[in-house]
């Protein structure tokens, strides 16, 4: 990457009042390291402890979503044989609201399934989400059922605006999926 492109990348970030951004391989250790930093930074920026709690929760569930369902994507692979999920996360402040975006590569089927789940959850009220969450807890985890995963329901419950989801085709057998939550 040339300095010009690198600077362009940096200037895009500065346009938003961003709190934190990361891009690269996503692992549980990285989740923890960024999560700790994020929580410390937010406690300084926001005096609303409930907002910090909800944001941290959304962050963990989104990152674990990337770790579980993520794909390495089309970029040149490292020499390690195991596929590692690659993702981007951006936390930006817009007035009182803090937005959290993740983007990562998943198979086309998984992207479509995730989009459907987001659309489904967006039709539900807070009380309905509470019921769906609790029902889902008592079902076996990660079976192939159509029900939304418990993590996604948690994200929907802790967000203050409807979840947004967009998919970009990569021209290969995976696509880039982006999820945006506002807390």
């Amino acid at each position: 990457m040339e300095f010009d492109r690198f600077h362009h990348f940096a200037s895009l970030l500065i346009e938003d009042d961003f709190v934190l951004t990361y891009s690269g391989y996503v692992t549980e250790d990285i989740l923890q390291a960024i999560g700790d930093t994020l929580r410390q930074q937010l406690l300084v920026k926001s005096h609303n402890r409930n907002q910090v709690r909800n944001l941290f929760s959304v962050f963990v569930e989104l990152m674990q979503n990337v770790i579980r369902y993520g794909d390495e994507g089309p970029q040149p692979s490292l020499s390690t044989p195991a596929q590692k999920p690659v993702g981007l996360v951006l936390v930006a402040q817009n007035g009182q609201q803090i937005n959290l975006l993740t983007g990562n590569y998943v198979t086309n089927d998984e992207a479509n399934a995730l989009q459907e789940k987001v659309n489904f959850l967006n039709t539900k009220s807070a009380e309905e989400l509470r019921q769906i969450y609790y029902e889902r807890l008592r079902q076996p985890p990660d079976n192939a059922s159509k029900g939304a995963s418990i993590g996604l329901i948690e994200i929907a419950r802790r967000s203050s605006t409807p979840l947004q989801c967009a998919i970009k085709d990569t021209g290969e057998d995976c696509c880039f999926i982006m999820i945006k939550a506002g807390v």
């Binding site: 549980e28 923890q32 700790d36 402890r49 409930n50 709690r53 909800n54 941290f56 929760s57 963990v60 569930e61 674990q64 509470r130 969450y133 609790y134 807890l137 008592r138 985890p141 418990i150 993590g151 329901i153 948690e154 419950r157 802790r158």
Partner: protein, 129 residues
């Protein structure tokens, strides 16, 4: 029966299970990489104790944060308490949560509705202020 103590880590809570005192404490954060592997030994130890005649247990849950996978493990743990209480164990659960943490309080309330032989008392989590 031996005491089980697990020190807290960044992603897992401190666990103190003291059969002699009849106490179980979960205190801290809970978003382990492998939830089952973390909670399984705790469930096994607690279950072995609760099957003894006249077992009494006070459970204190002081989790600052737990992820959705941990919520599933906590549900299993409470179901286990309910089953052993049905067999005669004397168990009480105190769930500490922040006043403004509606979602955690609702979770504890929803669990309580399903438990027939154990009651969850909700208390204020204050010391982590």
């Amino acid at each position: 029966m031996e005491k089980l103590t697990l020190a807290a880590t960044a992603r897992t809570p401190e666990i103190i299970f003291d059969p002699a005192a009849g106490k179980l404490l979960l205190d801290g954060e809970s978003y382990p990489e492998d939830v089952s592997r973390f909670y399984q030994p705790v469930m096994e130890a607690v279950n072995a104790y609760l099957t003894e005649a006249g077992a009494t247990l006070t459970v204190e849950i002081k989790l600052i944060y737990f992820n959705s996978s941990s919520a599933r493990a906590l549900t299993e743990l409470c179901d286990l308490f309910d089953a052993r209480a049905a067999d005669g164990a004397n168990i009480q659960i105190i769930w500490f949560c922040d006043d403004d943490d509606d979602i955690t309080r609702e979770f504890a309330e929803d669990l309580d509705i399903d438990l027939e032989h154990v009651q969850i008392t909700i208390a204020k989590l204050s010391e982590h202020g």
